[in-house]
């Protein structure tokens, strides 16, 4: 169990022919604590997979430093090859070797283990233990290609952890599974990683996966880390408009600060003048009067009546509007409302009586309304 420290990591693909150089990763600083489950979240092309492959040693960094524990594994002066890094990795398409059985796949990693090659009975015993952990004991001698996607993913995990690596890397491991299996494997992977206590770095473009699994999330965009934090903090206090929209749904309302309180439990409470009138919000930073901000109002925090929020320690925001559209979605109803010319999305309980064209009053709490300075 070792920490991973990244300092100013860069990866640039050199220009060639008539192509411009590609800056895949630009100056990433991250500290991943020993034993934690860390998620790199970003859309395609954000550089998250490239960054993961730099940690793995499958890509060579072009700048900065990567350290695993006390050992610098990548720097301009010195690069430790992947085979010597003691890192386990689970790949997107499982990368299970089709010409080997389940046990042979796992044993391969033991044979080449950095901590010393393990063969014979000792190896068989260890393989058995690990297959037990991932729940595949019954499949040890089966050809690896005769397994379902979920089972192959477990083989990949067993192979990655069998030689007790310092760090475990996941490259979008669940993206090829169907939705139900994905939800199941999420908790399963998380459980196994916790049980083994290995420092894990997990790449995904799926925000739900990130929120459910992570101890900490780093949101990446255009090769840079735009925010790092615990899932709740990122969801409640996105660092910028991009993060607000990338993680969860968000109504974005611009306004200017009228007043700012001293720091309280949830940060500074602000009074903000917007097109919807004066609203209350929280901010991690102290702001001064006249600063322009964007308010992040989550659809699920908009309520049709204020009785849910009575007794709140902070003011409750109230806006009136007209229902333009109501879409029944099972557990809830999705509303599109027009409030003083501003269009808002809201999610309300399916049992709320709503009519298209009807006038409604919406309320939402201050604590759940984040203000992002522009």
């Amino acid at each position: 169990m070792k920490a991973v420290r990244l300092t100013g990591v860069e990866k640039t693909y050199a220009a060639s022919g008539n192509r411009q150089p590609v800056h895949a990763v630009r100056g990433v600083d991250l500290t991943i604590a020993a034993g934690e489950f860390f998620v790199l979240l970003g859309s395609s092309g954000s550089g998250k997979t490239t960054l993961l492959r730099c940690i793995a040693g499958l890509e060579e960094t072009t700048g900065g430093e990567i350290a695993i524990g006390e050992t610098v594994v990548a720097s301009p002066r010195r690069t430790v090859p992947a085979v010597k890094r003691n890192i386990g990795m689970v790949f997107q398409d499982y990368a299970i070797w089709p010409h080997m059985t389940v046990a042979q796949n796992v044993e391969f990693a033991l044979r080449h283990a950095r901590s010393g090659s393990l063969r014979g009975d000792a190896a068989r015993k260890r393989v058995g233990e690990v297959l037990e952990v991932v729940g595949l004991s019954a499949f040890a001698d089966r050809g690896a290609t005769y397994l379902s996607g979920g089972q192959q993913q477990r083989v990949a995990l067993a192979r990655a952890v069998v030689a007790t690596p310092d760090v475990l890397l996941f490259d979008e491991p669940l993206s090829n599974l169907d939705a139900r299996l994905r939800a199941l494997m999420r908790t399963e992977l998380r459980r196994i990683a916790s049980e083994l206590g290995i420092t894990s770095v997990y790449v995904t473009h799926d925000q739900v996966e990130a929120l459910v699994m992570a101890d900490h999330i780093a949101v990446m965009k255009d090769g840079e880390v735009v925010q790092v934090g615990a899932p709740q903090d990122i969801y409640r206090q996105p660092a910028d408009v991009f993060v607000a929209g990338f993680i969860g749904e968000a109504n974005l309302v611009k306004g200017s600060v009228a007043d700012c309180s001293d720091a309280q439990a949830d940060g500074h409470v602000l009074a903000v003048d917007t097109e919807l009138g004066r609203l209350w919000a929280v901010s991690t930073k102290r702001l001064t009067q006249g600063d322009t901000v964007t308010l992040v109002i989550r659809p699920e925090n908009l309520h049709l009546a204020d009785h849910h929020l009575t007794g709140a320690s902070t003011p409750v925001n109230t806006v009136g509007g007209t229902v333009e559209r109501a879409t029944f979605a099972g557990a809830h109803t999705e509303l599109v409302l027009s409030c003083s010319g501003v269009r808002l999305q809201a999610q309300v309980h399916a049992f709320e009586p709503v009519e298209v064209g009807g006038e409604v009053t919406l309320s939402f709490g201050t604590r759940w309304t984040a203000a992002i300075p522009d």
């Binding site: 990866k11 693909y13 050199a14 220009a15 060639s16 022919g17 192509r19 590609v22 800056h23 895949a24 990763v25 859309s43 395609s44 092309g45 550089g47 997979t49 490239t50 492959r53 793995a56 040693g57 499958l58 890509e59 060579e60 690069t79 090859p81 992947a82 085979v83 010597k84 003691n86 386990g88 990795m89 790949f91 997107q92 398409d93 990368a95 070797w97 089709p98 010409h99 391969f108 990693a109 080449h112 283990a113 950095r114 290609t145 990949a156 192979r159 990655a160 030689a163 890397l169 925000q207 408009v241 991009f242 929209g245 990338f246 749904e249 968000a250 109504n251 974005l252 269009r343 999305q345």
Partner: protein
């Protein structure tokens, strides 16, 4: 108002760079060209790439250099030699060369016309019409690929013998035709047509996919416009097939321009020389001293003629075939329903071709190898059948050595070539370095190095090494192995590149993350997963080395005689029965190896 939905999902190049091998292959390997991981660059693979370049260039450089070397003894690199263009002026002032050049032009154009027209016709009949027994015919027409050309040459020599050749005897059943002839096995027309026949199997393999993939839908679209059949053919079908057919034409042009076996077996005795056999004749002059200088300069000229189209061909298919990833997309075929009478005519035509070109040569070898005397097959002589020729072959004390030489040559050369090919493919597909691309080009163009030219190059290289470095390779197995590795690098590399290209790069990365070093990864992951293509590459190289006559005859010494050389010598001495027996033995080995390797590959393929 979800921002997430408006976030562009377009693939950024950084992701393409790390995408699957398949994806990356389609997007041409430009992106990461210069991004190679500096560390852990497996020097073994780079060494293979450099070796490829060296193996191809070194002998050719020696060839070019020595072609400008003139010495009183006629041998390059001997005392008193100096640089001059005399060898070239000799080639052009020597009037005896005009005939071979004209012969070669006729031979190349004629054999290409015969070979490609037959292939095209067969491809259309077998791929697009309702001809009966299409599958069986296809297999039978392809089968002669495994028959060494020198053996085919002997079979045709027997069939077209002006006195007793079976084809001539049958032709004389026609009124007004009398002996000798009407055909002469040694005439230019004969060697041209026979070479044309020998071009058919491989041409059909290349042309069939072109004909098959010409989408029926496009033809139907033309049909709906009311275009008449000929107009449809001219304006839609032919233009669609043109690029595919052009590449086959170029490839087979190179094959025909350097063809040696048929002109050597059939033509030399009769004095019919083409360019490649003229080079050989200048080395092994029946009268007087060898003309090394002239052979040398002619080799350079032939090399230029074959190599330039080969590079052209490489450029042509670089984008289409080599980076094509199997998509499993099936083309809709529109079967042409032949009307009854034409179906019968076409069937009989194809049957006649199969009997004459595929079965007769085999049967005549079988006949001749079991007869005491040179004779026309007849029922009355069936009773005289004897295994004397085979007994003679195995009783000759040197034969076992010759056979062992042949098998060792085939196995060693095929193994080395396959190993280099795997590493070359890896360098090209995984590393995507400039060295990988250069090695790929060099390996590929080896088909454009005529066997006789490579023979001359290696001959002079070994002479140079002998006189300047004290390394004596002339007449050794080592020299033959080197030559055979060079000539088989192209085909083996192409096959392994296709095979390794189908393996997802993550499978190797996963092994790397397990701590497996480069050679472990290649041995335990890459090669087993690419086993079908590695087996195919190996057996093709093996069969090629087994049947190769040009290199073996040019470089033959006492220590490296092969069955093909033995065969050729016996034939030239008139020991027809033994030559036929040797030919059949060689064919059986070649066919057996091919069948075993193919079925192994097919079994592996089915398992994955």
């Amino acid at each position: 108002m979800s921002l997430r939905e408006t976030e562009p999902m377009a693939l950024d190049r950084a992701d393409i760079a790390t995408a699957s091998a398949g994806d990356a292959a389609v997007t041409t390997p430009v992106v990461t060209a210069a991004s190679g991981r500096r560390f852990a660059r497996p020097s073994v693979a780079s060494a293979a790439g450099l070796l490829t370049v060296a193996l191809v260039t070194a002998p050719l450089l020696v060839l070019v250099w020595s072609s400008f070397s003139v010495s009183p003894l006629g041998l390059p690199f001997t005392p008193g030699s100096h640089l001059a263009v005399k060898n070239y002026t000799d080639v052009f002032t020597d009037g005896t060369l005009v005939k071979p050049i004209l012969n070669t032009v006729f031979f190349v154009i004629g054999s290409l016309a015969v070979g490609l027209l037959i292939s095209l016709g067969l491809a259309v009949l077998l791929e697009r019409t309702n001809l009966p027994l299409r599958g069986l015919f296809f297999a039978l027409i392809i089968a002669p690929v495994a028959m060494p050309q020198v053996v085919a040459g002997i079979a045709w020599g027997l069939l077209l013998d002006p006195q007793v050749g079976l084809v001539n005897v049958m032709a004389r059943w026609l009124p007004g035709v009398s002996a000798p002839g009407p055909f002469n096995s040694g005439s230019l027309a004969s060697i041209t047509v026979v070479q044309g026949f020998l071009l058919v199997p491989f041409s059909l393999l290349l042309v069939a996919p072109v004909v098959r993939s010409t989408s029926g839908a496009l033809e139907e679209a033309a049909h709906m416009t009311g275009a008449r059949r000929l107009a449809r053919l001219r304006e839609v079908v032919l233009p669609l097939m043109a690029p595919g057919l052009a590449s086959v034409l170029i490839y087979q042009f190179v094959t025909a321009a350097q063809a040696f076996d048929i002109p050597a077996v059939l033509g030399l005795e009769n004095g019919t020389k083409v360019f490649s056999t003229s080079i050989y004749k200048n080395l092994n002059s029946s009268s007087g001293l060898p003309h090394y200088g002239v052979a040398n300069a002619m080799s350079v000229l032939l090399l230029v003629v074959a190599l330039i189209p080969m590079y052209w061909y490489y450029r042509m298919i670089a984008r289409s075939e080599r980076y094509a990833v199997v998509t499993g997309k099936s083309y809709r075929r529109r079967t042409i329903e032949l009307p009854g009478i034409w179906r019968t005519v076409a069937f009989l035509g194809v049957l006649a071709y199969v009997v004459l070109v595929v079965l007769l040569p085999l049967l005549i070898l079988l006949w001749m190898s079991t007869q005491k005397y040179y004779s026309t097959p007849s029922v009355s002589r069936l009773g005289d059948a004897t295994l004397a020729a085979y007994r003679r072959v195995f009783s000759v004390s040197t034969f076992i050595g010759t056979l062992r030489n042949t098998l060792v040559l085939g196995a060693v050369a095929a193994s080395i070539a396959s190993a280099i090919a795997v590493l070359n493919s890896w360098l090209l597909l995984r590393r995507r370095s400039w060295l990988g691309r250069v090695a790929d080009v060099f390996a590929f163009i080896t088909h454009g190095i005529p066997g006789v030219v490579l023979g001359v190059s290696l001959l002079f290289s070994s002479l140079y090494l002998g006189s300047h470095a004290g390394i004596h390779l002339y007449g050794t197995m080592t020299l033959l192995v080197i030559g055979m590795v060079i000539v088989t690098l192209g085909v083996t590399t192409r096959i392994t590149t296709a095979g390794i290209g189908q393996i997802h790069r993550n499978l190797e990365d996963a092994a790397e993350m397990c701590g497996a070093g480069f050679l472990s990864r290649i041995r335990r992951i890459t090669v087993p997963l690419a086993a079908p293509s590695v087996a195919n590459a190996w057996v093709l190289a093996f069969a090629y080395a087994l049947s190769n006559l040009t290199l073996t005859v040019v470089l033959a010494g006492s220590g490296n005689r092969t069955v093909a050389v033995e065969l050729y010598t016996r034939w030239n001495f008139g020991d027809v029965q033994t030559a036929a027996a040797l030919g059949l033995i060689l064919t059986v080995i070649s066919v057996t190896a091919t069948v075993v390797a193919r079925s192994y590959a097919a079994r592996k393929e089915a398992r994955h």
